[in-house]
């Protein structure tokens, strides 16, 4: 459903992606694994069509507007949880009763039922990440892109968010970026390893077992 062909993306002098090609099939869960600065966020931003590629192309097969992304550092509108989660439905012109029902359902899914009237700025980091997930999931996306979704969370919240992601994977295609091989193994069937803006390995998460991956990365493990 998503294919990147020879994608190059530059930010000024810096080349963030150097000819990345990958294919994501409908319904699969894929981890983009790499150390900080390897180009993971850029890859997701290009896939989300937030940043156009300088070279190469991004092909998406599916309904328009059915791709959504959750940022590493969640961004919110300075208002209530309800209004944040409802935003995507509101701009799609959904009726108020449907918006209320779906927002309630999405908040329940992330364990935030009853938090609709709280202001986002009052939430903890873990709660914010869960609201960001609810805001994406409420749109019932075909493709969900998650940029290091647990990087700012403590272990209990990481476990909680990973549970939500596993549930989401049953309903849509999920591509997430992480710098934790263990997380890639827990959440995905397939992995793409990025290093210096290049795909250095891709395949089943079995790649991550033992020292195989380190060999593939030429000893530049992390």
């Amino acid at each position: 459903m998503l294919e990147l062909r020879g994608v190059v993306r530059r930010y000024g002098e810096r080349v963030a992606l150097r000819g990345v090609s990958l294919r994501v099939r409908r319904g699969e869960s894929l981890s983009v694994l790499g150390p900080n600065g390897s180009g993971k966020t850029t890859l997701l931003r290009v896939a989300a069509l937030l940043d156009p590629p300088d070279e190469g192309e991004v092909l998406y097969e599916g309904k328009p507007g059915a791709v959504t992304m959750v940022f590493q550092r969640p961004v919110f509108f300075d208002t209530t949880v309800f209004k944040n989660v409802a935003y995507g439905l509101r701009i799609r012109g959904r009726p108020a009763t449907e918006i209320r029902r779906r927002v309630r359902e999405a908040l329940r899914l992330v364990g935030m039922e009853g938090a609709g009237e709280r202001r986002v700025r009052e939430l903890s980091e873990g709660e914010k990440q869960r609201v960001a997930l609810a805001r994406a999931l409420v749109l019932e996306p075909e493709l969900l892109l998650l940029d290091e979704p647990t990087s700012s969370l403590d272990p209990p919240n990481t476990e909680l968010v990973e549970g939500i992601i596993r549930e989401a994977e049953e309903g849509c295609t999920v591509v997430l970026s992480t710098n934790l091989p263990s997380q890639a193994r827990r959440l995905s069937r397939r992995v793409v390893c990025l290093l210096g803006g290049r795909v250095v390995a891709q395949g089943s998460t079995r790649l991550l077992e033992g020292s195989r991956l380190r060999r593939l990365l030429g000893g530049k493990g992390w």
Binding site: T68, M69, R73, V75, F77, Y87, I91, A136
Partner: protein, 206 residues
């Protein structure tokens, strides 16, 4: 006295809305756009914030007088001349403060809106929504400047009794005529209005 105060509110309120009608698209362009010459344009508007009101009044007088290019519109010495003049006077304030408010919004908000399916226009509106406190501040500051100016109202309004007389021109006239009590009463209303607006602006800044 009440009719003068109400006329002042109506004229300056309309002028503020008029300035907002063209200042908002300009601010969106300058605040969210990235193009060559943007900084120069911002500096231009910033500089015009200090434009002396009598200078603008004089220019408008020349434009609107019967021999001026806009003479056939017969706007001189009407409330609309003051509205136009005050709108032009406060436009730099509206644009500059709105731009500053838009620039303070986290740039990721725009990306957020787009990842949730917003069009470019909807994403711009989302950014504007995040800048709402600053936007209200811009509108209040513009109104504040409009309602307390004298030069434009005097030069293109003519201070006509019951028609173009506003609080500032009335204060100037009554003081010249020795009606100090009336002047002080009008000044008290104007000051109360300006103080209230400043209080609201202070609350919004926090």
């Amino acid at each position: 006295m009440l009719d003068i105060a109400l006329r002042s509110l109506w004229i300056s309120g309309t002028a503020t809305l008029l300035a907002l009608s063209w200042g908002l698209p300009l601010a969106l362009l300058l605040g969210l756009g990235r193009f060559r010459g943007r900084r120069v344009l911002l500096s231009f508007f910033h500089t015009l914030m200090g434009l002396p009101t009598v200078t603008l009044g004089l220019l408008l007088f020349l434009l609107l007088s019967s021999r001026g290019p806009l003479g056939p519109l017969h706007l001189l010495y009407t409330p609309w001349a003051i509205i136009l003049g005050q709108a032009l006077l406060v436009t730099p304030i509206t644009v500059t403060l709105l731009c500053e408010a838009l620039e303070r919004v986290d740039p990721a908000v725009r990306d957020l809106a787009r990842t949730l399916g917003a069009s470019e226009r909807q994403a711009s509106l989302a950014v504007l929504g995040e800048a709402r406190r600053g936007a209200v501040l811009a509108v209040l500051a513009s109104f504040n400047r409009a309602v307390s100016e004298l030069g434009v109202a005097m030069m293109v309004g003519g201070n006509l009794h019951g028609y173009t007389r506003v609080m500032t021109t009335a204060i100037a006239l009554e003081t010249a005529r020795g009606e100090v009590v009336l002047s002080l009463q009008l000044a008290a209303i104007l000051l109360a209005l300006v103080f209230t607006l400043n209080l609201v602006m202070d609350l919004l800044r926090r």
